[in-house]
Symmetry: C2
Subunit: 220 residues, 2 copies
């Protein structure tokens, strides 16, 4: 059965986004620092349809971790806000198709947790968005069917990941710990309680200004 | 000039002590998990006057980090609460001498930040407690004089460390990151703002159920 995985960049003080998130600054103040290690990698840029990437600066461990996180993913689950929140009034003339435009960087089925049923969306590059209204376990069942033996990724947000963690359903959790302080914003573990639900430290890899901590269940 | 260092164990969700701290449970609920990696080390036990230690389970990196944190320390600075808070009524017949009894595990001068002047205390093993009422910079000056070319350690609590961090005075910060959740308690970086004051990641070492992250200033 395919494993459920969540990977996310987090600051030293535990935030996955900075304070004062807005449409202009969706990662909040300072939040872009969490992703600098990733966006300079050629592997990340290729997956997002971008050219270039500072290959000479690519860190071996960062690349290894990024390639792992992109490869062998058969489906993604995300929350409504990650899909794109409510469209602005300028979009109302046609159905809202999410933040990503015509080439969403998934290329596999995506299951969006929502309370509002709507028809699925398909894209030429293999991405589809299916809207799931009957809960996280149903979404996981459907994502696993779509993924076959590949991973199911949780695409965020942190609240969705905490729901799966709390339901004992996360098999792998990889934190990209970035040594900066954000001083406020969205905490990864806020309200997660004091139970890691069987997840234990499996691996630590140090990259260029980031430490990759991989936790997994069932190591013993 | 001697460097100012702070080392502390912290949970994956950013706590240095669990919820509901009390005299009976000074580390709060679950807080003892943060120190399990340390207390089983022979190096830690020797420094605290204890026998034994599960030598066969000693992790090489854990030992390296622990030996570093014990060696070459010439003075310690701590807050009033770390020294021992207020004595209970059973102690009022003689001057309160802190939590540690007759053999405090320092064996060097300790400077206690407080608002209440009192005479210094000396112990046979080389430990002394000097009470400093004129602020953190004065305490650091005196600790540096006492330490010579050795380190000055911040003995805690987190609030004292944050004051020195905010004043640009910490040279090295080592976090022993323990992959557990405490779900509440004392946050290391609460109120620290979004500035690491020049500290950058210098080294990562993975131990037995703990990851040691060393940050230092002036790497570039």
């Amino acid at each position: 059965m395919s494993k459920l995985r969540f990977t996310i960049s987090v600051s030293l003080d535990g935030f996955v986004a900075g304070p004062d998130q807005s449409v202009e600054e969706p990662l909040g103040r300072g939040g872009e620092q969490l992703h600098e290690w990733a966006v300079r990698l050629r592997s990340w840029r290729q997956a997002h349809g971008l050219e270039g990437g500072a290959v000479e600066d690519d860190d071996e461990n960062d690349n290894k971790v990024m390639r792992e996180s992109i490869a062998n993913v058969g489906a993604t689950i995300m929350g409504r806000n990650m899909f794109g929140g409510q469209p602005g009034p300028w979009d109302r003339t046609e159905p809202w198709r999410g933040w990503w435009g015509k080439d969403p960087p998934f290329r596999h089925p995506v299951f969006v947790l929502t309370h509002h049923a709507r028809e699925s969306l398909g894209f030429d590059n293999g991405t589809s968005f299916t809207f799931v209204t009957d809960g996280i376990e149903s979404a996981l069942d459907r994502a696993r069917q779509a993924a076959g033996y590949q991973y199911v990724n949780i695409g965020g947000g942190a609240d969705v990941a905490r729901q799966y963690l709390g339901a004992d359903l996360i098999d792998e959790l990889e934190l990209h710990l970035v040594p900066v302080l954000l001083g406020g914003g969205t905490r990864l573990f806020d309200g997660a309680g004091s139970d890691l639900h069987g997840l234990e430290l499996l691996r630590t890899l140090t990259g260029d200004g980031v430490v990759h901590l991989k936790l997994a269940r069932g190591l013993r």
